[in-house]
């Protein structure tokens, strides 16, 4: 049907140009995802994926349960699908092509079912189809009922040989699909998106594909990136890092959701692309033999990732103590779980101020909400001349009027003066 005629019938119709490259990419994406169910995946361009599943049925709990997983996954990736099964790949593909959700286990049952299929599934050109039509042949069965030699002479060996392959009478070797080393998938959005929520919905499709891809390779990723392409060809890159490798689609989605929550989109998004390169081996999880009482201990790595996804990766950190006399260098922000040295310092406060706060000095007495009473000290710290950031201070433990204990020092250089540096909480 011409586009003009179609539009006349349905004015709201959206016409999209068919893009073979995108179709192929999508098919490869589905194949990469489906490889988690069997190592034997073959492609039937432009729209078929063949899975050799007889060896997988037991692992996935039978045909029904396997089909359920396939259907759910395909739907989550946004594809509509027809699933069919047969002892030979060609027969299975033909059933699917004819829109028949049939599963045939025995070769003997194959012939009558295939005989009823229309000739269109041979995917021969329009002229050949018209020629078949002219001699009153519409189904595979009718074609097969014709004298074999005559058919071969008029239409070539092709159609009959195909049928024999479908019945398993001729060999039908296939090249198995080999997944690429890294994961890349893109999705053009049907309409420009400005809302993060809608974006997450679209990204979820790619994430399901990624999770399947990783499961097929028994691998996980520690980082992946989502690229949001805008109308003006600029792009926003969202990089997600994980504490430990994972291939859990729910977890990936959660991290993206947290990231999207704080995302301001300057431009509407037209296309999204998901990329994951360094795939590392990841063993499957064993279930606990005995469930512990109460709530099971949670996953620490996931907590850190969730916090980092929303608050920024700098926001979650550890502390460390270093062999340094200068107080601001002796205790610092560090990576979580940094290896610690056992060091003996003098009396040190639990809180260190970000930067020393100058204190008033009245009649030679430092004041902080009233006069301070010096309890312990001085502890002289004079260090750091070698890096130009040297300090020369006398530290005291002091008591405030309200009995709080603070750590203060007297600057021994320049104009001197008193500073508050810590609080003994």
């Amino acid at each position: 049907m011409a586009a003009a005629a179609a539009l006349a019938l349905a004015p709201a119709l959206r016409v999209a140009r068919r893009d073979p490259a995108t179709e192929t990419e999508a098919l490869l994406g589905v194949a990469g995802w489906a490889a988690q169910f069997t190592p034997g995946v073959a492609l039937e361009f432009p729209d078929g994926v063949l899975l050799e599943v007889s060896g997988s049925l037991k692992l996935f709990g039978g045909l029904e349960s396997l089909l359920e997983r396939l259907r759910r996954g395909l739907a989550e990736m946004g594809w509509s699908s027809v699933l069919a099964g047969a002892p030979t790949p060609r027969a299975a593909f033909w059933l699917a092509l004819a829109g028949k959700q049939k599963f045939i286990g025995e070769s003997a049952e194959l012939e009558p079912v295939l005989a009823a299929l229309p000739l269109e599934i041979l995917r021969c050109n329009d002229e050949t189809l018209a020629a078949f039509e002219a001699i009153g042949v519409r189904t595979l069965g009718e074609l097969r009922a014709l004298p074999r030699e005559g058919v071969a002479r008029r239409f070539g060996q092709g159609p009959l040989a195909e049928f024999d392959r479908a019945l398993g009478r001729l060999p039908d070797p296939r090249n198995f699909f080999v997944p690429p080393a890294g994961f890349r998938a893109a999705l053009s959005l049907p309409a420009e998106v400005t809302q993060a929520g809608a974006l997450l919905f679209a990204a979820r499709r790619l994430i399901v594909q990624l999770a399947g891809f990783l499961a097929a390779r028994s691998g996980g990723v520690q980082r992946f990136s989502l690229r949001l392409k805008h109308r003006d060809r600029t792009a926003t890159e969202i990089a997600i890092g994980l504490v430990a490798p994972s291939r859990d689609a729910e977890h990936f989605t959660l991290l993206l959701r947290e990231r999207f929550a704080g995302l301001e989109l300057a431009e509407p998004v037209r296309e999204i692309a998901l990329r994951a390169e360094d795939i590392v081996p990841l063993a499957g999880n064993n279930l606990e033999l005995l469930l512990e009482e109460g709530r099971a201990p949670g996953d620490w790595a996931r907590l850190v990732e969730r916090l980092r996804a929303r608050l920024g990766s700098e926001a979650v950190c550890g502390i460390a103590s270093h062999a340094e006399h200068r107080p601001e260098r002796a205790g610092v922000i560090a990576d979580i779980g940094e290896k610690q040295l056992q060091l003996d310092f003098g009396e040190r406060p639990f809180w260190l101020l970000d930067r020393p706060r100058p204190l008033a000095e009245i009649e030679a007495v430092p004041h902080h909400d009233g006069p301070l009473e010096l309890l312990v000290g001085p502890e002289r710290i004079e260090s750091g001349w070698w890096d130009g950031d040297d300090v020369a201070r006398d530290y005291f433990v002091a008591r405030m009027q309200n009995e709080a204990l603070v750590w203060i020092y007297r600057e021994r250089r320049g104009e001197g003066g008193w500073y508050l540096h810590g609080v003994f909480a």
Binding site: C317, G318, I319, H325, E382, A404, R412, A425
Partner: protein
């Protein structure tokens, strides 16, 4: 009748039911706080795990962290993570290590707003992946605290919320609320709310000031302190 009284006793034995005069027994596990005088007054003899504990110091610096020191040290040495959410200053590693805390297990979460603080606290509690959660929320409302309490329930982590002393006047879903003051240089622990009879008098913990140490010098480059300063020290240090 005997059977009935038996079932009544069994009912009273439930950990989530407590009578006015008796301290609630441990319905949830607790973490000993390390001060026998205080442990004796807390239901279950310790900080409640899987529940909020509010700590309301009269002001900063009177010993609010030293109060938690023994409990945090014990948890961290068992390899459990201590998550500090939105602390007011940098937790100083040398002092925490000296208090026996394994600082490799200490994690700080810095937030940009009170809302983020509440969110992060809820995540930390709900994850049940922490040994203890310490949070400094700003101006939290009852409903927000209730969310935190629900997130904490059933978990293994004691959750300490440090709040301003004014919060003592507001109602709170936290099963344990403690106000801190000072008395003779020691820490006065006032149990505002617990599962059990209210506690009339504060518990006085011995003074925990930093040990008086002899003058320690860390001098890499010799330089004499000015005479005036030395006089000054004499006035205060030896007063």
């Amino acid at each position: 009748m005997a059977g009935m009284s038996f079932s009544f006793a069994a009912l009273l034995d439930r950990p989530d039911i407590w009578r006015g005069q008796v301290l609630s027994r441990a319905g949830t596990p607790t973490v000993p706080c390390g001060f026998p005088g205080l442990d004796a007054e807390l239901p279950g003899r310790g900080w409640p795990a899987g529940a909020l504990t509010e700590i309301l110091p009269a002001h900063e610096g009177i010993g609010e962290l030293r109060l938690l020191g023994p409990a945090l040290a014990g948890l961290s040495r068992r390899g459990l993570r201590l998550v500090w959410i939105a602390p007011p200053h940098l937790p100083y590693a040398p002092a925490l290590a000296a208090a026996g805390i394994d600082i490799a297990n200490l994690v700080i979460v810095r937030t940009a707003s009170p809302k983020e603080t509440l969110w992060a606290t809820e995540q930390a509690l709900a994850s049940n992946a922490c040994g203890a959660v310490l949070a400094w929320p700003q101006g939290a409302k009852y409903a927000e605290l209730r969310r935190l309490q629900i997130a904490a329930e059933g978990g293994r982590a004691p959750a300490f919320l440090f709040r301003a002393p004014e919060a003592a006047g507001e109602s709170s879903p936290a099963p344990l609320r403690i106000a801190l003051g000072t008395s003779d240089g020691g820490l006065a622990v006032c149990v505002l709310k617990r599962r059990g009879a209210p506690l009339a008098r504060p518990i006085l913990l011995p003074p925990m000031p930093p040990a008086v140490r002899s003058k320690t010098h860390h001098v890499d480059r010799h330089s004499a302190a000015p005479a005036a300063a030395r006089d000054f020290f004499a006035r205060f240090v030896h007063a």
